[in-house]
Symmetry: C2
Subunit: 739 residues, 2 copies
């Protein structure tokens, strides 16, 4: 699926200048002294040696070979080709000396029985293509196994109606059309991809009474307006479209028939008609080469501002009888087996503390970028861990590497596993580290909970960026800095350069496998990768050829991805004291709250909830976070010193550190509420959730923001109270770190 | 030509919230008391009666008939058809009972001998069109007298070279190309229209060593990306291009051979080779239908960000041998007679004080919008004045209505007249009121010196807006307000609505006939009109048909334009005390200075000039302006009261008011410096000039800004010193209003 760290939010440039506190990151000074957050000086020196050894293992040639093998055939979830990739991952992991097993689930999927029929009825009868073109240069593009263009979990039906162009299909777009007296009730709508998760587009179309929806890729968004098109360049050509699930994953992800429970034998299934996370109207993706024929013919009012795309004519809203279209989807819902691959490295000191790494393996077609660049990186990281084990490395905690299946349909492999292991994960999980599309270019980006910000920055400071020769961190920071206008780089009063701020890490929304861990269970999570010019998302051209030509011709970024990911996992697995910083978390919640209060004030809802109680809770949380961070750092040093002292003091310091570590883990858990979010009980986290009308992008303080958007004062009051409670619980959990 | 009040500057939304001071504007309260700035209560009541009578005169039917007559044929400056329009205007004015005469100048013009040859040489040989297509619905578009596509004062030559795409052709665009190692030396460049005056594009191309330049209209700027294309909609179709002068009017406007002097018999002419305000390389406009053939074939690096236009492919920079092109211009420079039409209404009390109204009459083709919507409005205003005179109205001051010729070539008719009458204008001119393209839609906009802001707002509060039923002012203010993001409309702290700020009036740059008055002579000036969706600028489709279909089908806005313009002229002609407010001027200069200091700080040039002296001078100017404004208002009241008292006190109050009025006029004059701006002595004004690299848009504090852009500390010091002197002179001039 898609990752939200690619998108720089509009306010990122502002936030970029919030100067963060001094960082603890690994550095070897002139004195040879090594400092690494969570480690005492001697442990740090050991860790640096292990990490250095680890980072030497991943190689471009083997990363390339993994990717080549994984992308030989399309491997949609639940197919024999998918199963073959599972065996490849398992067998590779075993060949590195690691324990690796398949884990099966029986889940509801959906496949085309026949390619969808899209037919223009008026102004003239014409069948439109619902398959992608063969590209001579790209050998796999002619495969007969490429699945026709469809949207997973689309409704099945045969509808004919006038067509309305609804821009990105956001609620505001429908508002704009209402002002022009364009009604979509009983019509088929055509929306362009972008700005929201496609499931949201289907949902909003349904809410507005549309009987079907076509979703096309406008050239302004990922076609020629962005750059040269495939195969001349990396962007989407006219006869290419974006597949993808239209599950309402903002309601709940996973198997639509088993919300909250694992899809294993014995678990009762909902009836299909009872599932609330799938659309009932036909939904169909389309290329801009075909969509153009429909859009160019539309009449009705001229598009409102912001609706114009990159096709060479003025867009119109349609809605008249001039353009009518038929959409007939012929899809079957089937229960199929899917295969997660679970690889374990047991911890030597705290085997009951789990550092979980995850990447999905299933793809809509060949999946060179999405997701198998990440699979290749995970295999290279696994190879690195195997070599360390052979050299005598004993990780303090357990590392679990997960190759998820059926992510594309709705995070199914990860969700079912997380639901099956919910109790264990709540007790034991330290963090979940996700990499989906690890490489589509050279630009590092990340999204995470704020407690992991410093860890991500510190690890990327230790990885070499292949293209620039700087560190990954430096290249990342410079890139954000270069995008800033001149006016933002200097202080207006003094003319001097502003201090260089940290590179920004985004909030986690949804769209990849971190969701069940963070938002259902309260496990600290991150998602990251190297992005670039990538216009073939979910098309037949997300292929090995594309990757070798545009995404990562030298495979050096696959290596860098394995290094960053593995380094973070090593630090979390080895550090005596977990390098979680809740002062960043408190500051981030404070910023979210400031922004929310502003919106509430604009909507005249400032008095509808108890902002003071919430702000007081944040303040207490911050104070506790500052205290605990100091205590944590002291405890790490004392723990190392105590090891050479008496057994008793060593034991005491060990226990103290364990108490602090548990408090740090439980603080994130405490931000969940068992009752879940309003109307979507599967989502438990009170700070982070996918926005109801964005799908990918995070909506921080989700229930409060939504209540304000809905102008519902009663809901705002209750949401604020629940968030306040959650933050108080988090403060309480954090305070357990006290002696 | 073009007007810069259409363009909302990027910082307009910020400035929009600078709360301006209380306004004096006409209103009839419940008590029946009338208040009108510059008039005592009884005079105000008289004025309101005259104005009401005046505003009833202009009618849609006669405005329509003027426009129909003026747009029957193309009337390029210096042609027999142009002469016919001069006679029409003169005879109409005479028929209204006004004195009206032709005024001739002999000036250098340029016409095509043969249509320009533009030929693609590689990748294939193909001649490209240099004429516009006939549009069946538009009867005049088939006229054989439509002048072929050319740029006035283009160089004459025949060049063949590789082609480079330079975006808008701004200095920054060439910088971006240099980073890609694309050199334009010896090449032909192709630039798109927009962002700068076309003469600037030619100049910058020349400075960079290009041997020729093609300027085309990209569909993103005024074609289908903006809306439906002609004849379905008002925007530019594929086979249409923008003619226009490429004179370097930022050096000096008017006849290229007589800078600073009138082109009358006896004035010595420069040799053509001595003129410094015209390009030497061939310059040729082109449609996007034709330019597409060249642009699509370009190779070389992918365009930098911001270079992509609206054609359906990824733009490339070119510069390689893949695309070569030939441009052959066959144009003749000729001395021709042009005809201004000057209409006078003598003042009864102060005949030696002139209120000058101006609009040009010559057009590149039919000129329905540009400029004859303004000519029609001026004729209707003239008809109104004629009727008032018949009813016994005696204007206090003289009104001069000017129908300029050869504006399109470079403000020639106005510049030569202003140069011929320089002494008289310096002594006597109260203000210059310009309307060029008076109507292309329903959206009022204005640019002026700040001393006239309150007058413009007050007059537009008294004119009915045909479409909305509100006042013109209210519709204007609402439009700006609606464009603001929600966040800007409410106070972030309180959630309450921000106070409604005044509609913004822009700074005067250049591109129309106010330039010789304001920037050469220091006459307070304004420019205004009603804008809209207008994609046929300087094309064969700027026709009566276009206006009747899109611009102003009911001709109600032609009436509104005549009413606004005439009302402002009446107030300036009749008011005992001139309604000039220099507190707005001082505040505006202060804002310019704040912005300039910020830029200087960013460039590390804050210490290169004496900002304190400049700021002190502005402060003194503001204090004097506040004093004088109070005194002016008192003097108006006392003047009216004194009329019923003794002759002696009446005479004394009259003299006092005259002294104040003269001070107000002379303050603007004092902002000019006889030495002129650096390297362009014709431009005398120290606060306002067209930007050297923008052409249309104003560059406030021009020499200082330019020195900072050039990072030239010596020039910055001198520029700041001269501006300081000018402001001190203005303060001194204003202080003459004291008793």
């Amino acid at each position: 699926m898609k990752k939200n760290w690619r998108k720089l939010p509009a306010h990122a440039f502002l936030l970029f200048f919030i100067i963060t506190q001094t960082l603890a990151y690994s550095q070897t000074g002139r004195s040879g002294y090594v400092s690494l957050d969570g480690f005492g000086p001697r442990d740090a020196a050991d860790e640096v040696r292990w990490e250095t050894q680890f980072r030497a293992v991943p190689q471009p040639a083997s990363a390339r070979e993994h990717l080549r093998r994984l992308t030989l055939e399309p491997h949609v979830a639940g197919t024999p080709e998918d199963y073959k990739t599972a065996l490849y991952v398992r067998d590779q992991m075993r060949s590195f000396g690691l324990q690796s097993e398949l884990k099966e689930y029986q889940v509801l999927l959906q496949y085309p029985r026949q390619p969808t029929i899209v037919e223009m009825i008026a102004p003239r009868r014409q069948r439109l293509q619902t398959v992608e073109a063969v590209v001579a240069e790209d050998p796999t593009s002619s495969s007969r196994r490429i699945i026709p263009l469809f949207n997973g979990y689309s409704g099945v039906g045969d509808v004919t109606a006038p067509l309305v162009y609804v821009n990105y299909g956001l609620p505001n777009d429908y508002e704009a059309l209402k002002k022009l007296k364009v009604d979509v009730k009983g019509k088929i709508v055509i929306a362009r991809y972008g700005q929201s998760f496609r499931g949201v587009k289907a949902k909003v179309a349904e809410e507005n009474g549309a009987v079907g929806i076509i979703i096309y890729s406008d050239p302004a968004d990922d076609g020629y307006t962005q750059g040269d098109i495939y195969p001349k360049g990396p962007w989407r050509p006219p006869q290419s479209a974006q597949r993808g699930s239209v599950q309402y994953l903002f309601e709940y992800p996973g198997d639509p028939l088993t919300p909250g429970a694992p899809s294993i034998p014995g678990t009762p299934r909902l009836k299909l008609s009872e599932a609330t996370d799938i659309p009932r109207i036909p939904v169909q993706p389309m290329s801009y080469g075909e969509a153009r024929k429909l859009l160019e013919a539309l009449r009705g009012p001229l598009r409102p501002k912001g609706f114009q795309g990159g096709l060479p004519f003025a867009y119109h809203a349609g809605g008249t009888m001039d353009v009518r279209v038929r959409v007939k989807t012929d899809l079957e819902y089937v229960e199929r087996t899917i295969w997660d691959v679970i690889t374990r490295i047991d911890g030597s000191v705290e085997p009951d503390r789990w550092v979980v790494m995850g990447n999905h393996r299933d793809a809509w077609t060949f999946g060179a970028v999405d997701p198998n660049s990440g699979t290749s990186a995970m295999l290279e990281a696994g190879r690195g861990f195997g070599q360390l084990l052979k050299s005598g490395w004993k990780p303090r905690r357990t590392i679990i590497l997960c190759s998820w299946d059926a992510e594309e349909y709705g995070l199914i492999g990860s969700t079912e596993w997380a639901e099956e292991n919910a109790d264990g994960l709540r007790r034991n999980a330290v963090a979940y580290l996700n990499m989906d599309s690890a490489v589509s270019g050279a630009n590092f980006g990340a999204a995470s909970v704020p407690s992991l910000w410093k860890l991500i920055r510190s690890a990327t400071r230790d990885i070499h960026d292949p293209k620039t020769g700087k560190t990954v961190y430096q290249a990342w920071q410079d890139r954000v800095r270069e995008a800033l206008p001149e006016a933002e780089l200097t202080d207006p009063e003094t003319g001097s350069d502003r201090p260089i701020a940290e590179a920004r890490i985004n909030a986690l929304g949804s769209g990849s496998d971190y969701t069940p861990f963070l938002q259902h269970l309260g496990v600290p999570a991150l998602d990251m990768g190297f992005g670039g010019d990538y216009g073939v998302y979910h098309s037949a051209y997300d292929s090995f050829y594309w990757m070798s030509k545009f995404g990562d011709p030298t495979f050096a970024y696959h290596v860098a991805a394995a290094q960053v990911w593995g380094t973070i996992a090593l630090r979390l697995a080895d550090a005596p004291g977990l390098p979680f910083d809740y002062t960043d978390y408190a500051a981030q919640i404070k910023d979210f709250m400031t922004e929310t209060s502003r919106t509430a004030a604009r909507r005249r809802m400032a008095d509808s909830f108890d902002a003071r109680a919430l702000n007081d809770a944040i303040k207490d949380f911050m104070e506790e976070a500052v205290r605990v961070d100091r205590r944590r750092r002291e405890a790490v040093t004392e723990f190392e010193m105590a090891r050479t002292a008496t057994n008793e003091s060593s034991r005491r310091e060990g226990e103290r550190l364990r108490r602090i570590n548990d408090a740090l883990i439980n603080t994130e858990r405490a931000l969940t509420d068992a009752r879940g979010l309003r109307g979507r009980p599967w989502y438990k986290h009170q700070i982070y959730a996918p926005g109801y009308y964005t799908g990918y992008a995070a909506q921080p303080l989700p229930d409060l923001r939504r209540a304000i958007d809905d102008r519902n004062t009663a809901n705002a009051r209750e949401a604020a109270a629940r968030i306040t409670e959650a933050i108080k619980r988090a403060t309480e959990a954090l305070s357990k770190a006290r002696d």
